[in-house]
Every structure is written in structure tokens, then in C-alpha cells.
């Protein structure tokens, strides 16, 4: 079982403190919602967890090890990040084949995840022509590619249509039920209320609440009033 554990995580960019002394655990087998207003430090936290941003203090361990020291990172951790880009001239299937080469993942698996995110028919098209929602699906396919036991997702419903949002919710529930660890960052209360088991609420880079969703109320309204009180 692979927990994601942050310990005293801090990041300053010049005079801005993006994340301040944050400690939490996202346990295996659950969906942990990471909720906070824009600019509250969610993306920075996920990027530190993935070794993309060097913390000013503290660390994040994935199954006891920092991401940068995992032997096969894509097979252990899948990530969807906000600013991840695509080469506009590369075909969707080739985008995934590039990532697959890093772990010698066979093309068969590439086609499997393309089917899973409903992009099988667009697989041969260049990403240039993709809508925001299609790019988001391709990003999700990339996260799933290595069949990882941990998923770190940053605003994953961006650009998805209602059917896509419902599909993603079902997928995440199924993956968590298989014992995987899912950390889902979002500024959307409704998404967290409908999807998460645990919640972390942050504002201004600081953790304001950590615990089961039911402790602060599972309805949208209850979560909203708790959120507004805390942030």
C-alpha cells in the first residue's frame, strides 16, 4: 500500500510563500480531495511531490521514497498537471508512445489507455486539432499509462463535458477501490463533494483542515460553508 506523505512542506518563490509547513497523508485506497481557492498552493504542492519543484523545506514521500528516487516513476505514480503541454504536431498515439518508451511499455498498453479515455478514434490525429477536453483526456491517458498505484491529479475535470466528468468520477472510484492512492486537487467544491473520501482544505499555502469528508458534511452546502469558514 502506497501512501503519499507530506512532511513540513514549504515553498517560497522570492517573497511569495506558496506553501507553508504543510503536513498530510493521502492514504492508499482512498480518494483524497485537495481543495483550496485559486493561488492557495495546490499545484505547487503537487509539483513538489513529483520532484519538479524543489521544496524550500520539508519533503513528500511516496511509499516512503521521494519521487525522484523511484526506480520506475511512471509505473508507480501517474500525474496529470495543469500546465503539461503537448507538441501540437504530434499525434495522440505518438504522444503516449514517447512516454511509453521511458518505461519500455508496449504499444498494446498505449492503445488500451486510448480506448479507456475514449480517444481510440482520434489516436491518429495531431494534438493541434484537439479540444481542451480531448487534451485533458489525453493527459489522463498519460497518467494511467504505467498502471500506477498512485495518481496525482491537478484540476482533472478542466474542459471535460458532464459525461466526461461522470466517467472520470466512476474511474477514480474504481481505481481507489482497487487500493490505489488518489490525490485530487481542485478548486471546485462540487467535484470534491461528489468524489472524495478524505479532504485537505488549504488556503494561502496553509492546511486548514484534514479529515474524512463526512466530518464536515457531505452535501455541497455543508462543504461550502465549511470551506468559506476555513479559507
Amino acid at each position: 500500500m502506497t501512501d503519499v506523505v507530506a512532511r513540513g512542506l514549504t515553498k517560497t518563490f522570492g517573497r511569495v510563500t506558496a506553501v507553508r509547513d504543510m503536513s498530510f497523508t493521502a492514504p492508499a485506497g482512498t480518494i483524497t480531495g485537495f481543495l483550496g481557492p485559486n493561488g492557495s498552493g495546490k499545484t505547487t504542492t503537487l509539483r513538489m511531490a513529483l520532484g519538479l519543484v524543489q521544496p524550500t523545506g520539508g519533503d513528500v514521500l511516496i511509499g516512503g521514497v521521494p519521487y525522484a528516487r523511484l526506480a520506475h516513476p511512471r509505473r508507480r505514480v501517474g500525474a496529470l498537471l495543469e500546465a503539461t503541454g503537448f507538441h501540437p504536431g504530434r499525434r495522440a498515439r505518438d504522444h503516449l508512445r514517447v512516454l511509453a518508451a521511458a518505461e519500455r511499455i508496449p504499444d498494446r498498453r498505449v492503445d488500451e489507455v486510448l480506448g479507456q479515455v475514449d480517444l481510440a478514434e482520434a489516436a491518429g490525429r495531431r494534438v493541434r486539432g484537439f479540444s481542451l477536453g480531448m487534451r485533458q483526456r489525453l493527459g489522463i491517458a498519460a497518467a494511467l499509462l504505467g498502471d500506477p498505484e498512485v495518481l496525482l491529479l491537478d484540476e482533472p475535470v478542466n474542459g471535460l463535458d458532464p459525461a466526461g466528468i461522470a466517467w472520470l468520477r466512476g474511474l477514480l472510484r474504481r481505481l481507489a477501490a482497487e487500493g490505489r492512492t488518489i490525490l485530487l486537487a481542485s478548486h471546485l467544491l462540487g467535484e470534491i463533494a461528489q468524489t472524495a473520501d478524505h479532504v485537505l482544505i488549504v488556503s494561502s499555502g496553509q492546511l486548514r483542515f484534514a479529515g474524512p469528508l463526512r466530518e464536515i458534511g457531505e452535501t455541497n452546502e455543508a462543504l461550502e460553508s465549511a470551506f468559506l469558514d476555513l479559507t
Partner: protein, 251 residues
């Protein structure tokens, strides 16, 4: 093959733009040699083939931009995030890019060299001149030109890692070659200027502008010295690329 290198080759194999860029190398060679002859070059002048073959080194400007594109292009488009997620150690990413771009630079240089031979042979036979393939200078000039293509591809990787903004990196590199090095050279005098990168590469790929004494008289280094200086720049840029890449936040 190391996984990072497979990844880099697969990246190159799945897009068109870098190949269109590299195709400009042989096209430049064709246009340059044809211009040399058409503008009144005398095919009976024994120095003319060397001037023709020196265009291979000129094509290195495109392998320079190719190398820049391989790194700064990833930062500009945001694909660098996925690349570092695959290889969080990062060092292997830069070394794989150096190797892949160096190999492609060598291939591009060889294609340009072959093109130069064919085009020169065609013009010379059309104009009734003769040139000797066996002349040692022919192979030294072409070999130097190929080496310049490799070195500039690797230097491009370094420039792209140092200046992550694609437009800024390409502009800075081209401005250096076209303007800055010339002005700087005048300020510091030709004794020092011949150690600057573009001048050093000129001595590398213009060996047949007669012997090394001929090069020296034009204010250039001897070919082997030029090669060593280029090797030094390549290693320096590669090392700087690795060091800066290991530290930087990708936000």
C-alpha cells in the same frame, strides 16, 4: 539503448518540424555552391572546390537551431514536465539529448557533405573543370564541416537549456553568429577573435583554403586547433546545460 535515448529518438521521429529545419542544410549547400559558380567562380581555380565544400560547415547553423529546438521547444510547449516525470534525475535527459542531437547532427552533416560533392562534381563537369577528390584538403574540409554540424547541434542543446524561451534562444544564437561575434571580434582584435566559437568553426570547416599557414594569414586558427576549441565549447555548453537543468524548478 538507454531508455532516455530511445525516448529522444521517438520524440524526433514523431514530429516534422525538426526535419524540415534540417533539410535547409543541404538546400543551403546547393544554393551556395551554385551561387559560387554562377557568380563567376573559375572552375580552373584550384582553390574553388575548397570554397564550395566549406558550405557544409555553414549548414551547421541549422543543426544549432535543431539542438536549441530539442530543449527550449520542450520548455516552451510544456512537454518538459512529462519528460522530467519520466526521468526525474534529469541528467539522463540532457545527456540523451546531447547524444541524439549529436547523432542527427552528424547524419545531417554527412548528407550536406554528400550533397556538396555531387553538386560540385555536376558544376565542374558542366563547366569543363576538374577537381581532385583525392586531395587531402577535400576530405579535411568535408570532415571538418561534418564535425561543425555535430558540435553546433550539441552547443544548441546547451543554449536551449540555458535560455529556455524558444524565440529568445534562437534569436540570441543567430544574433551571435550574424552580428555579435563580428563586433566583439573587432573590439578584441583578430588574435583573440579567432578563438570565438564561429571563427573557430570556420577554421574547422575551411581547411582547404590552402594549408594551415593560409588559414593563419586569414586570422583563423589551424584546423586541429579550431577543432579542439570547438570541442572545448561543446563540453562547456554541455556541462552548463546539465548543471542548470538539475537545479531549476519547472512550474
Amino acid at each position: 539503448m538507454p531508455r532516455a535515448l530511445t525516448t529522444e529518438f521517438r520524440k524526433l521521429a514523431t514530429v516534422r518540424s525538426p526535419w524540415l529545419l534540417l533539410a535547409l542544410g543541404p538546400l543551403t549547400v546547393v544554393a551556395g555552391i551554385s551561387g559560387l559558380v554562377a557568380s563567376g567562380g573559375n572552375v580552373h581555380d584550384p582553390a574553388l572546390p575548397g570554397k564550395a565544400f566549406a558550405h557544409v560547415g555553414l549548414a551547421a547553423i541549422f543543426t544549432l537551431v535543431f539542438g536549441i529546438l530539442a530543449v527550449a521547444g520542450e520548455y516552451s510547449r510544456g512537454t518538459i514536465t512529462d519528460t522530467f516525470l519520466s526521468f526525474p534525475g534529469r541528467r539522463s535527459v540532457i545527456t540523451a539529448k546531447l547524444a541524439a542531437c549529436g547523432a542527427v547532427g552528424a547524419a545531417a552533416g554527412l548528407v550536406s557533405a554528400g550533397t556538396a560533392l555531387v553538386v560540385t562534381a555536376a558544376w565542374w563537369s558542366a563547366k569543363g573543370g576538374t577537381f581532385h577528390l583525392s586531395a587531402a584538403d577535400t576530405w579535411r574540409t568535408l570532415g571538418g564541416g561534418v564535425a561543425a554540424n555535430v558540435a553546433f547541434a550539441a552547443i544548441g542543446v546547451g543554449v536551449g537549456a540555458l535560455v529556455r524561451n524558444l524565440a529568445a534562444a534562437v534569436t540570441a544564437a543567430l544574433a551571435w553568429v550574424a552580428v555579435v561575434e563580428g563586433i566583439l571580434g573587432q573590439l578584441i582584435g583578430s588574435g583573440l577573435a579567432r578563438w570565438l566559437p564561429f571563427s573557430a568553426s570556420e577554421s574547422l570547416d575551411r581547411a582547404s583554403l590552402t594549408s594551415s599557414s593560409g588559414l593563419l594569414s586569414r586570422g583563423l586558427l589551424a584546423q586541429w586547433d579550431g577543432g579542439l576549441v570547438m570541442l572545448g565549447y561543446t563540453v562547456a555548453f554541455a556541462a552548463a546545460a546539465v548543471l542548470i537543468t538539475l537545479k531549476r524548478d519547472v512550474t
